[in-house]
């Protein structure tokens, strides 16, 4: 579904990724793990066209991926950033509508009703402003907004960061539900337990390259890899 072939990228003069390669299979969840500064978020931003690709290539569904962020979004990839980026001056309803009206189409998979069914809490807060939401509610809104883009691939950056354990469990259950529905996902996560419980496949990133790949079950069993690359 998505192939990254020897990509290099970074911020301005600072290179972060050095020939990173990985593959995300359709209908499966790929977790990208690694220590802080390894290049996980940089990988996602490069896929999304938010950072320039310096070398290598990215292929999505057999075609080279677009280089501009809005073209990438329109090609069927939705991205939930670490910062969630809820628009503070818009209400929950308006935050959702801003996307729903753009990606609605004649018979969309995801509608306002369906995302509110997935996250009933948002239905109770529809008229609240973006700044009046808790961290968990903001994360639900960010995921709901991404789903309204009717993506074929959902990319999430640190979806549990700063959330209470009960909300982490709720987010986990919702993402499991999406996985059961067959939605392909890539998830970057520091929470090893959360990531490996959700993912089918795992790629570990270290110093801007993929240093380990395998299944979630394999990394759970490989204590050496956990210790060497993740410090678990």
């Amino acid at each position: 579904m998505l192939e990254l072939n020897a990509i290099s990228s970074g911020y301005g003069e600072t290179q972060v990724l050095y020939g990173l390669s990985l593959v995300a299979q359709p209908g499966r969840v790929l977790a990208i793990l690694g220590r802080n500064g390894a290049g996980k978020s940089t990988t996602l931003k490069t896929i999304m066209g938010l950072l320039p690709l310096k070398s290598g290539d990215i292929v999505f569904d057999g075609n080279p991926i677009a280089t501009r962020a809005f073209d990438v979004a329109r090609s069927g990839i939705a991205y939930v950033p670490e910062t969630r980026d809820i628009f503070p001056s818009l209400s929950v309803r308006e935050n959702l509508e801003i996307v729903a009206k753009r990606f609605g189409g004649p018979r969309p998979d995801w509608t306002m009703d369906r995302v509110l069914e997935l996250f009933p809490r948002l239905g109770e807060r529809l008229d609240n402003g973006g700044t009046q939401l808790s961290g968990g509610e903001q994360q639900m809104l960010a995921i709901a907004r991404a789903l309204l883009m009717n993506p074929r691939l959902l990319i999430l950056d640190e979806p549990t960061e700063g959330l209470a354990p009960i909300i982490v469990k709720l987010i986990h259950d919702k993402l499991q539900e999406l996985k059961r529905d067959g939605l392909s996902m890539i998830i970057v996560e520091q929470n090893f337990g959360f990531a490996t419980a959700l993912a089918d496949d795992v790629a570990v990133v270290g110093k801007g390259q993929v240093v380990w790949t395998g299944s979630a079950a394999e990394i759970r069993a490989d204590e050496d890899a956990q210790h060497t690359w993740l410090g678990v």
């Binding site: 999304m48 066209g49 938010l50 501009r68 962020a69 809005f70 990438v72 979004a73 329109r74 991205y79 950033p81 980026d85 628009f87 503070p88 001056s89 818009l90 209400s91 308006e94 509508e97 801003i98 996307v99 009206k101 753009r102 990606f103 907004r145 883009m149």
Partner: protein, 334 residues
């Protein structure tokens, strides 16, 4: 996104009452000042839409107003087109011009956006200043006002023209609210807060900016067409960057991104200008000191200052007054 609250409604009612009182009681000079305020208010509403709600600080809105004024003058006086059609044409032409400027400048940000709009404004000023078709330095005269004789209204009468401008301002305010509450307005709000995020949500950012800039330009063009009819004479000075700068001062003085604030700012600025210029020719210095005080006070202009002091109190009173009384507990006699 723009929302009305009790204080905003209250200030609008006070402003409307003051304008109507002035329109029906003032003599010629007072009516001229009122009309000047109303036309400036239309221009600064246009600027507030792009600067206050889209983060696009424009230094070419004076030039856009000038485009509207010259287009109206040329279409009505030179081309002989009926004034209502000339006015519609002037508004449309200014909108198209503004859309093109917005589309080009939308790829720049901050100081670069300001400089790009300034460059467009100065190009328009220089061209109009030199071109004979626009009357060069001498400008154009003999500009007719709309003929509303069909409705029994003579716009050559200062009072009627002031009321006509008031009606135009009301329509523009309503249009501005509709724009900001529409899908385009929501997208603009998103773009202002996080442009990169909006791109990642599949939005064509430059198009949103250009569309809003075009609509704002149409409003500035309307201000220009009214200004041309007000003075019945126009000169290149109307397109000067100082007009754009003055409009920006008025928006900041009143309250950026509030719609209501710029109306307060326009009234305060014109009244201050007329009162102070009678006392000293250095009235700009006094306005400058007031502007510095407003900026240093950290309030969002005069309206922001009012909102910070009385906004919550008025909201609470309105909430108390509109709250439904609790049903009295049933007295049980069981």
């Amino acid at each position: 996104m723009f929302r009305h609250n009790a204080l905003r409604y209250a200030v609008l009612v006070v402003l409307l009452a003051a304008a109507l009182f002035q329109a029906f009681t003032a003599e010629y000079f007072g009516l001229e000042i009122l009309t000047e305020i109303l036309i400036l208010a239309i221009l600064v509403l246009a600027l507030d839409i792009v600067a206050g709600f889209g983060g696009m600080v424009s230094l070419c809105h004076g030039a856009l107003m000038g485009v509207g004024a010259y287009a109206y003058a040329l279409l009505s006086a030179k081309a002989g087109i009926a004034p209502p059609l000339a006015m519609a044409g002037a508004v449309a032409l200014t909108g198209v011009t503004a859309w093109a400027i917005g589309a080009i400048c939308s790829r720049s940000h901050g100081i670069y956006f300001i400089m790009a709009t300034l460059a467009f404004g100065q190009m328009a000023y220089s061209y109009v200043f030199e071109a004979l078709v626009f009357g060069g330095d001498d400008g154009l005269g003999g500009i007719a006002r709309l003929d509303l004789g069909l409705f029994g209204i003579d716009l050559n009468d200062s009072r009627s023209f002031a009321l006509f401008c008031l009606a135009a301002l009301g329509a523009v305010y309503g249009a501005a609210v509709l724009i900001l509450r529409s899908g385009l307005g929501r997208s603009l709000s998103g773009v202002m807060h996080n442009e990169q995020r909006m791109r990642a949500l599949g939005l064509t950012v430059w198009r949103v900016k250009a569309d809003v800039f075009g609509l704002s330009g149409m409003i500035a063009g309307l201000a220009g067409a009214l200004a041309a009819q007000h003075i019945m004479y126009i000169s290149p000075g109307l397109l000067s960057w100082t007009v754009s700068g003055e409009a920006l001062v008025v928006v900041i003085l009143g309250g950026l991104g509030t719609l209501v604030g710029p109306l307060v700012g326009a009234a305060a600025f014109v009244v201050l200008k007329h009162e102070l210029s009678g006392l000293t020719s250095y009235w700009h210095l006094v306005v400058g000191v007031i502007l510095i005080a407003v900026v240093m006070s950290r309030a969002n202009g005069i309206f922001g200052w009012i909102e910070a002091r009385w906004g919550d109190r008025i909201e609470r009173r309105v909430a108390d007054a509109t709250r439904k009384p609790e049903p009295e507990e049933a007295t049980s006699d069981a």
